[in-house]
């Protein structure tokens, strides 16, 4: 944060938003990591814990909204302060959504593990989650340090997540075709993969917000995308 305001309580209010956001970021990261770990280890107790933690993020988002509105009403913020407050509101929304997606993964743990599980696919998911979590962690660092450079590089890397998601999608389709008994688990895993891919998108959103907060400029609208799953169809059986 730049140097102090003449009114020191204004600084306290802005600091509160930043602190609360970094708490939310920590919770969101942990929820996603725990949800994926629960999926890999078939740990339903841990999955339950993740589900209950989502309340913390909902409360955090509401609190940031309330405080941000109050600061705007009281201080009529300008320039970098205004961008920071608007940015906080947006980032809080993204983090709350990340929490929802983590919770959704946790909910699927039980369904996935009632079936004979395709172990390898869960591993693929783990790798996807690692990438998304790295993005999330780094984007929170970028926010903490107001680094537009870091924010921009994170945004560029989302392509990688998209590419892995696309290949996972293809793999899951193949498994389902091989053995219809895989369909339930694979469908759930497909949703889990989609959730993780979405978490990457939220990290990208946050990166864009951080860039705007730091520079006052918007990143260009087009960014690299490598998610082809919207148009993907399963190969016809026996086509080879």
């Amino acid at each position: 944060m730049p140097e102090a305001h003449t009114v020191s309580s204004y600084d306290d209010e802005l600091r509160f938003l930043v602190r609360r956001l970094s708490e939310m970021g920590g919770i969101a990261e942990r929820m996603v990591a725990d949800a994926v770990a629960a999926l890999v280890n078939a740990d339903t107790a841990s999955a339950q814990r993740v589900i209950s933690e989502d309340l913390l993020l909902d409360a955090g988002e509401r609190e940031i909204y309330d405080k941000a509105v109050l600061v705007i009403a009281k201080r009529q913020p300008m320039a970098s302060d205004l961008r920071e407050i608007i940015g906080s509101i947006r980032i809080a929304s993204d983090l709350e959504r990340v929490g929802d997606l983590g919770k959704n993964i946790a909910k699927r743990v039980i369904a996935v593990h009632t079936m004979a599980q395709p172990r390898k696919l869960v591993r693929g998911l783990e790798h996807l989650a690692e990438l998304a979590l790295t993005q999330l962690k780094e984007v929170l660092d970028a926010f903490a340090t107001r680094s537009p450079h870091l924010a921009n590089s994170i945004r560029e890397r989302d392509e990688e997540i998209d590419a892995i998601y696309t290949s996972l999608f293809r793999e899951l389709l193949t498994y389902m075709m091989e053995d219809p008994r895989n369909i339930t688990a694979c469908t759930h895993l497909l949703f889990c993969a989609k959730n993780i891919e979405r978490i990457g998108d939220h990290a990208t959103n946050i990166a864009e917000t951080v860039y705007y907060v730091a520079t006052g400029e918007q990143l260009s609208a087009d960014r690299p995308k490598d998610d082809d799953t919207a148009s993907m169809v399963a190969p016809e059986p026996g086509a080879d």
Binding site: P2, H5, T6, P77, M78, A79, S80, R83, T215
Partner: protein
């Protein structure tokens, strides 16, 4: 490099025709003390230019140069050039009274003459000989009061003293008085600082309407007001022009740290 140069040239070409007043290398001295240092600032036609900055930064001094209000201070000396429609207003041939009819002024505290509402507005056109008949004068008074958005409130008591109006009404009466002599530019020195929020809102609404017919330069200590009413903003500090540009940009993403610190309340 060439591309950038062309861009600047085009930008200047657009500006030339849109410039109402131009200050070039304007310095002001009060005796030994220099209050303004080589200010270059353009005032665009039919737009509101806000001058902002902390107390003593020179913004009011610059404003007062624009209609030679500083002439009234004996020890004040102005160097550089200020033009109105390309004509140097400090040229010895310029008639200062006529200049001030073309560049009117509204002050911080409403200061109606101790006369009737009607006479407050009629005074200027009468001494400048702008009308030939009573009917014509009546018309100017009414249209000025209408433009100043106060006609409906005073039409039934035009012959009551102007000083009997509320602060906000008095200020709009002063604006009507300034408009009555058909100026080209209206200078406003903190026109709302003595008004309540409702009266302030009315004056701000009025400023926006006046922009269609006049060019306005306003000095204000309220950053929010500058952001609301102006299209261009100029930031002064210690007698120097720090930054000037589109208001929308100045208040969301200013170029200089000084402006940033001032408008966000981090000054000194």
């Amino acid at each position: 490099m060439t591309e950038a140069a062309t861009e600047i040239a085009v930008d200047t070409a657009i500006k030339e025709s849109a410039i109402k007043m131009r200050g070039s290398d304007v310095s002001v001295f009060y005796g030994e003390k220099q209050a303004l240092f080589g200010v270059n600032l353009d005032v665009r036609k039919n737009s509101v230019t806000a001058l902002i900055g902390p107390s003593g930064c020179g913004k009011s001094t610059f404003l007062r140069c624009l209609n030679r209000m500083n002439d009234t201070i004996d020890i004040c000396r102005v160097t550089g050039e200020i033009t109105l429609e390309g004509e140097n207003i400090y040229d010895p041939k310029i008639d200062v009274v006529e200049l001030r009819a073309r560049v009117g002024m509204v002050f911080q505290k409403p200061n109606p003459f101790p006369k009737s509402i009607y006479e407050n507005v009629a005074y200027g056109p009468r001494i400048h000989g702008l009308t030939k008949s009573k009917a014509e004068l009546d018309e100017i008074v009414e249209s000025s009061l209408r433009k100043a958005a106060i006609w409906e409130e005073v039409k039934d008591r035009l012959h009551e003293p102007g000083t009997g109006l509320s602060g906000g009404q008095q200020q709009r009466l002063c604006i009507a008085r300034a408009i009555a002599v058909s100026p080209e530019v209206i200078l406003m020195d903190e026109p709302c600082s003595a008004l309540d929020p409702i009266a302030t809102a009315k004056v701000e609404e009025l400023i926006d309407e006046l922009r269609t017919n006049f060019t306005i330069v306003i000095v204000t200590h309220s950053m929010q007001q500058a952001a609301r009413v102006s299209q261009r903003t100029a930031m002064f500090h210690l007698g120097k022009l720090v930054e000037e540009g589109d208001t929308d940009k100045m208040f969301t993403n200013p170029d200089t740290k000084l402006t940033q610190d001032y408008i966000t309340g981090r000054f000194g």
